[in-house]
């Protein structure tokens, strides 16, 4: 098969330009736009919440946030208020990053980039969550924060007692396994999100490559659904892990 007839699939995000010696990849570039839209949306919401006549946007955001709150409330109960900002930002951030990766033009608009003295064309945009760096960062934040909250809510002594207890020699073996399982949580978080979104991208590319007209439409709808479900799964899992971490051990 000739090189140019293959669909363009790359596991890693490609560099598109440099700022002050830092490489800017196409997934980071798209996430800047998501940040921007997020910030503008937050400002509009804040502005409307202060003013007398509130617009439709205000009620829409309120509706979404209320439903999210009820969802987390079903797990965390009276501690929901404390964790809600973190969990809802996880949900909304991942949701928007997933959905922006499905917009037309993402992955299909190419630019020419010089790499190893060779001019290659790479996509200008790429879904941010289809980049393992992003998902790993989110996973590290999630697991690390659940440890921090455990120390904060239980105290350092009780936290260490969750893993190792002097009275119980077996716990030295089990506690080590627990620590390994905390690390494997990070890996599974990162690969679940990355794998789902990246697999969706590959699926859309391959289907569009096999049947160019209309056939990828149902898969696009499926990917919108998968993006929502993965955002939900990530934030719900974080919720459950936090609620397990801050529970008293007995």
């Amino acid at each position: 098969m000739e090189e140019h007839s293959k669909p363009h699939i790359s596991i890693r995000a490609e560099k598109i330009f440099h700022i002050l010696g830092f490489d800017v990849t196409n997934s980071l570039f798209l996430s800047f736009f998501v940040f921007l839209i997020f910030a503008i949306g937050a400002l509009i919401y804040h502005h409307q919440s202060q003013s007398e006549n509130k617009g439709k946007f205000y009620y829409l955001v309120n509706f979404i946030i209320k439903n999210l709150y009820n969802l987390f409330y079903s797990v965390l109960r009276e501690k929901t208020d404390y964790f809600f900002p973190l969990l809802s930002s996880f949900f909304l951030f991942i949701l928007f990053q997933n959905w922006f990766g499905l917009l037309p033009g993402v992955g299909s608009v190419l630019i020419k980039v010089k790499e190893h003295n060779e001019l290659i064309s790479v996509p200008l945009f790429r879904a941010n969550t289809a980049d393992l760096n992003t998902t790993l960062a989110l996973a590290v934040i999630s697991v690390f924060l659940s440890q921090v909250f455990a120390i904060k809510f239980l105290g350092l002594k009780a936290y260490i007692n969750k893993f190792y207890r002097l009275k119980d020699p077996m716990s030295f073996f089990i506690g080590t396994l627990e620590i390994v399982s905390e690390i494997s949580k990070m890996v599974s978080f990162a690969f679940r999100l990355f794998g789902n979104i990246f697999a969706g991208e590959v699926l859309l590319v391959i289907i569009a490559f096999l049947i160019p007209v209309l056939a990828s439409f149902p898969f696009l709808i499926l990917e919108v659904f998968v993006g929502f479900i993965q955002a939900l799964v990530f934030s719900m899992l974080t919720t459950v892990f936090i609620s397990v971490a801050i529970a008293k051990h007995h």
């Binding site: 596991i11 690969f191 679940r192 794998g195 697999a199 590959v202 479900i229 799964v233 719900m236």
Partner: protein, 75 residues
């Protein structure tokens, strides 16, 4: 066997064996959810949410296999 052929075999076997477990798992989750629905139809929304979450976890395992297969194929 050439390296290229071994790569194709590895890709196909990774995804073929890797989706066996999740397929059985998702089937079981679906059947149990329908059973629960039949027994307790008014709990539909709760059952649906739990079912979709559980399916997403089972599916994640298949996704790991898919990622490995893609890495073998394209890297």
């Amino acid at each position: 066997m050439t390296t290229e052929a071994a790569k194709f075999f590895a890709t196909a076997l990774t995804i073929a064996i890797g989706v066996l477990g999740p397929a059985i798992g998702i089937g079981m989750i679906g059947s149990k959810a329908v059973e629960a629905l039949g027994r307790n139809p008014e709990a539909e929304s709760a059952i649906r949410t739990t079912m979709i979450l559980a399916i997403a976890f089972a599916e994640a395992v298949a996704i790991y296999a898919l990622v490995v297969a893609l890495i073998i194929k394209f890297v």
